[in-house]
Symmetry: D3
């Protein structure tokens, strides 16, 4: 099967996006003209994960009995959802358009195990997975809509294409785009804009650590967020006493 | 722009499917193993139309501001929704995956006028059209979800590909599949199964004309539908008196 | 098959409810403590019809392949949706819980023809029908959610019981309850409350004809609706000149 | 009751917006930065109407039994939905936030009659009306979600405020904004932008009449829409022979 | 009150289904022709539970004020939701059709306490429960849609029947069917098919333990899942060294 | 900016409502005629919290580009969502009508920090928040619909008014109403009814502690809940041995 390859960004760039977090990256993209990069629907399933990585894509289509049949059931190598996994390199994110379907489990324990074994960073699925009681010990970062005991061709979907542009959670994903995901959700950073996101966002928020402390003590929002010029000296004194790590 | 061509079935075959109507074709497909060929969502907008024809497809994707921009606005020839229309031949049906979006008008008056001028049979859109007050005089067969005054890139969609496999109303459509549509809705007949549909369905219902008459007079459903052997002679007598036209 | 019979109310009572119309009956029921008798979802499909009649009920359930199978396909007399029709007497209304499903056509042309032949008043279906291009000439009063070319067991439903209590459009319907339906929608009048509805509603609105005329001429709402005592003499003069027909 | 008045725009301005139609106005607003002025949900109920006029607003809120009670039932003058009607002047449009509720009829026959008697242009309701069988003869332009026999406080809503900012169909409406509505739907033109809309849109489309004719004859979309410079001479010749009316 | 009894399957059979888990049982049922046994909507509320047991059923219907009233409020023994609990034996599962309603709490702390006291295995509710802050210490296995502080007749539902066929989450449940539920969800095993499910599924997956290990180390999916004949010897050597427990 | 103040109830009253819990308060309100005080949609995000306090309200409206613009972006003091926070006093609850929108984050880490610093009891939002990875350490009681990385004006909402009546989760909230929230959900207690709620509910359930114990041991529901007169002596003996704390 002839699956397109993707271009992978420099690992350092990806890592810096991960550290920024989905909220800061989404806000920066918004100011650059990308209105809504958030893939709505899939939610963080293992709380506390934060990943970033290039997107491999898997497209499901509504099942058609004349197009998916005995051949695929008999020969696992004809099953397209395996092929996206064959392409996984360490740090990759698999993004799946499962059409928001809640009845068809996209991956089960064995596929997720293989994905983890290859070093995959995580999966984002506009749909559900199955076999969670066995798969959860993998502790794999996942953004999904839920769970089902059904396998995917059991109800209404069939895997249809790998590494083609897809829509996931209302956002177009081009293979090679960078996914940034944490508990806030998973967003799409167009590959060509990634460097600029870092540049636009970098001067942000040196005083935020200080402001947060003050606000938690009941400090005035008008004084501390954003930092008012009247509080600049106070901040600088504090910073001297509390140097950045 | 390099748009794939489609293979068109013999016109006679298409015409016979049209005459059978969507309900009989859908039932026949179901007995052949195609569970649900009905594109749910789009409904007959000009009541009383019945069409059939090969599918040209247009795929919309969620709008991404870095992928659809000033170039497309400045140069209409970059706008992909025009290109599906350039491919239209008499009798063709344009099927559009507009993702069920109710805010983005897929075609307006001028595009629909051009489509009609080229002899298009009708359109099936999992979405909405705009400019209906001007476009309705075209009396074009349309299966759509509704209307909006908005144009398509105004809100959340951008045209993305032409004559690729799409999902429309929960059914996968391959370019060249045959669409059969009437007031019951629009269905997809896989091109490779079309001849067989005709063969499987052809012996249907010579006595239905008679049965319907009898049922309307209050005749017993057990006797007349399906035609019971006790009523066979009665039917034959009636048929002799009322030869088929 | 052992299908329960229903008790039918006096025809005159039913006719008076029909004349009152769904809005007045619903409002009266509300004042009697029945919060919402309106079956939401099914809408008037042939505009301008107004019917009333006792309910026969048909319950669909999610299809289970071990419970609905070859037996039913081979022997139409095992198909339960036929049995509700066998019970129809002139003026009856068939109410169907099809679970709001939009993919499974409850009745087609032949069933509806038989229903009309038996003198049925109309059908209310929390679901869809099929074969409308052939069936529409029956001009049968119908409150439905829409149309499909699919037959009912093709996708997700199976007929399960006849003349049992059902829910239709969010309202519980007991066989024998009186259905009142017009373009506003279809409502359920509990059989035991029907007489009282007539009694509570009867003194309504002798002056409404006059008020409507005045309002249409730009008359003051405060004076004419409800009729203010200052306008009583004016009304009476008008009534004398325009005796009730 | 102290209901704010609205400022009404010049009638000529409103009339020109009406003639442009919702699609052209929405497109013009989009180019001016208003992304989506279309009130989604309410649809044209009496096909073929086209209106424009300043908005009076009526806000419903979820019914609270401690806030809406016997007082309002006993004294119609306490019922706020009457008060928006008292403010109607010829050409006005009443826009109602009924929260998309499909169970609570906002207006019935008498209220709509009074509205028409005062010269109201039409109503836009993110909800439903009741008593349509009696009210339809008014032939009033209405954009609504549907019908019910229920009155509004029967289920979940209560009228709450008049001529305050509301949201209707996902668009914020400020009293005095100009509503433009036709079969495509109803849109909101911010009062302060109305003149600019006319200015931006006015040079539009002198050649469209010609192009439409050509397209309907099978003319090339690339040549006629938008009008190509190669077709300019052809157009001018045609125009000379077919002067604008 | 005359509530039907159910037939209970052998405990050993139930226990083996529980051990297989919902995903394996659902997949086996699918191969036997049961397309989708998963009750969609209710989700595992106390993560990590896995139960199986015969179904007692409780049916709610839309509340009708003339059918549920002071009698039921005054005499708890008239409240049908209590009666399904009276029938509970150790290991039973109560399945409730609460129509997907999110506003009406089906059970509260006391009912759930009684259920646990009788040895009930768990509950599956297409709806919500109330009083969770007090009830959660019971640590009862529950598959539900969510929580509410409301009791059930407070809003739109009334308990209507016990141990009748119901639909729950889009699946028909016959009293006595076997429910298998874990974090993937809750499924319905038709009682008559239970033995066959065990028979069809039993030869499954002796090598899966080995394959999973290999995949987690980055082993080739093509070699290890399903186990390729080239890896058979490797597996057997491993198995010899790691005998099954 | 001129933001209305609210009246705050006595802290002791609020505290007693908190102790009763949402379920008992909702049930009591229902018996007093308030059908459904539960704000549906927002769910308990940090399990195990139980709060009560007077409501400050924040209303979002659909974003209109002519009404929310550069002024608000440039001058934080023009951003209305800050102003509701300025009004917070210890024990207050901020209730936000974010229209159920899942794409627009209402508050982020800094706003929530300030809210906590001022002693706010918790927030109820018919919408989502952002920046949860940073904000979660605040351990703030929150009832929300979910999370997003987007900020609120990034997509479709703008803050519009503070301390005005709002609808949240289908319930009307008047500033100063008392919110009671725990894992069952958040409910609205009309300020004027709060004392009466305490009075009506106070005699409740002295024997419930005993009954719960008995039910958990398998005791008969008919005997112990509600407590039957035959069990009165048993209860009293138990109570003597287990005096209330």
């Amino acid at each position: 099967m002839d699956i397109p390859e993707i271009n992978r960004p420099a690992r350092a760039l990806v890592e810096r996006l991960r550290e920024m977090g989905a909220a800061t990256v989404a806000g920066t993209l918004a100011h650059m003209g990308i209105r809504d990069p958030h893939m709505h629907g899939p939610v963080s399933w293992n709380k506390g994960k934060a990943i970033a990585g290039p997107a491999l894509t898997l497209q499901f289509m509504p099942k058609r009995e004349d197009l998916y049949g005995q051949n695929e059931y008999d020969d696992p190598e004809k099953q397209l959802h395996r092929h996206v996994l064959y392409k996984v390199q360490p740090g990759d994110v698999v993004v799946v358009d499962a059409r928001g379907d809640l009845t068809a489990g996209v991956f089960g324990e064995m596929m997720l195990t293989y994905f983890k074994g290859r070093g995959g960073a995580g999966v984002v699925i506009d749909g559900v997975i199955r076999d969670w009681p066995h798969g959860q010990s993998l502790d794999l970062p996942m953004w999904i809509r839920g769970l089902t005991p059904n396998f995917h061709t059991q109800t209404g979907l069939m895997p249809f294409a790998v590494n083609v542009p897809i829509a996931c959670g209302g956002v177009t994903v081009i293979p090679g785009d960078i996914i940034v995901a944490d508990d806030d959700g998973a967003i799409v950073v167009p590959a060509a804009l990634a460097e600029r996101v870092l540049a636009e966002a970098k001067s942000h928020a040196e005083w935020e650590e200080f402001s947060k402390l003050k606000l938690l003590e009941g400090g005035d929002l008008r004084r501390y967020y954003p930092l008012h010029k009247d509080a600049q000296a106070e901040y600088e004194a504090w910073r001297k006493a509390n140097p950045k790590k």
